[in-house]
């Protein structure tokens, strides 16, 4: 009898905790999938999977890490099943070359000295930094973000990304490079520049 009550309490608290995680899960699913309905489904599937086997979560990591890990697997499954071919029209903004060329002088030197970003560990401890990062990811062109998130968030190998998206390897390198440059610019402007001013 006491055991039963304890179990009940635990699953209640798990429910509550999962509910609290839901908005964040949905944001990340959406960042990757860029489709509300599909993102909702993935989050729903993830929560059900966790609730069905609550004892799988043995507390070896935080609940958030655990649930996020499950959701990443579910997202990879969705990407594999959907096989959406990513079309990269040269124009998702200006052309790749213009954007990259603008950073360098004719002789190949950088135009400007990159800002010192300070201590990386200190940066990675700040929750607000990650919120700014999310906003910067939202601002990436959808296809670029999709590929970049596959590589850096889902941590898929480049071969697999090429297979799932139909993008050639050398094209993928350029897309990832451009995404990193854009992200860097956005973070530099909206985070590191402001830290410096503060």
């Amino acid at each position: 009898m006491p055991d039963f009550q304890l179990g009940d309490l635990m699953s209640d608290s798990l429910h509550l905790q999962l509910n609290a995680l839901r908005p964040a899960l949905l944001r990340f699913a959406l960042l990757q999938l860029r489709n509300d309905a599909v993102a909702e489904d993935v989050v729903q599937d993830t929560l059900i999977a966790v609730l069905e086997k609550p004892d799988r979560f043995a507390g070896q990591s935080s609940l958030r890490t655990y649930v996020t890990g499950i959701m990443k697997h579910k997202i990879v499954d969705v990407l594999r099943a959907s096989k959406r071919v990513v079309q990269f029209e040269p124009l998702e903004g200006e052309s790749d070359d213009d954007f990259i060329d603008a950073l360098f002088k004719a002789d190949g030197h950088t135009q400007d000295m990159p800002r010192a970003w300070g201590d990386p560990d200190a940066t990675l401890e700040q929750k607000d930094f990650f919120r700014v990062m999310e906003i910067c990811l939202e601002k990436l062109p959808a296809q670029t973000a999709r590929v970049f998130m596959m590589r850096e968030w889902l941590e898929l190998e480049t071969e697999e990304i090429c297979k799932e998206t139909g993008v050639s390897t050398s094209n993928l390198w350029v897309i990832l490079y451009r995404a990193r440059l854009r992200l860097r610019e956005c973070l530099d402007l909206n985070w590191f520049g402001k830290q410096e001013a503060a």
Partner: protein
Amino acid sequence: MMRVKMTCKEAHRVVSEGLDRDLSLFERLRLRLHLRICDACTRFNGQMALLRQAMRKLSAPDDAAGQERK
């Protein structure tokens, strides 16, 4: 035959590609020589490393920070 000296423009690209593929021995050597004398590309290299770390912690920043510190 490729020149041994790299421009910043090349170095930036190679830093990024180094996150996605194995660089050749020659590329690594050229990059290392360039970074030794170039503060701009050294900073860029650090920024790219931070981006990678940050992306891996993106959806669970709290304890990821703890895990890394051993």
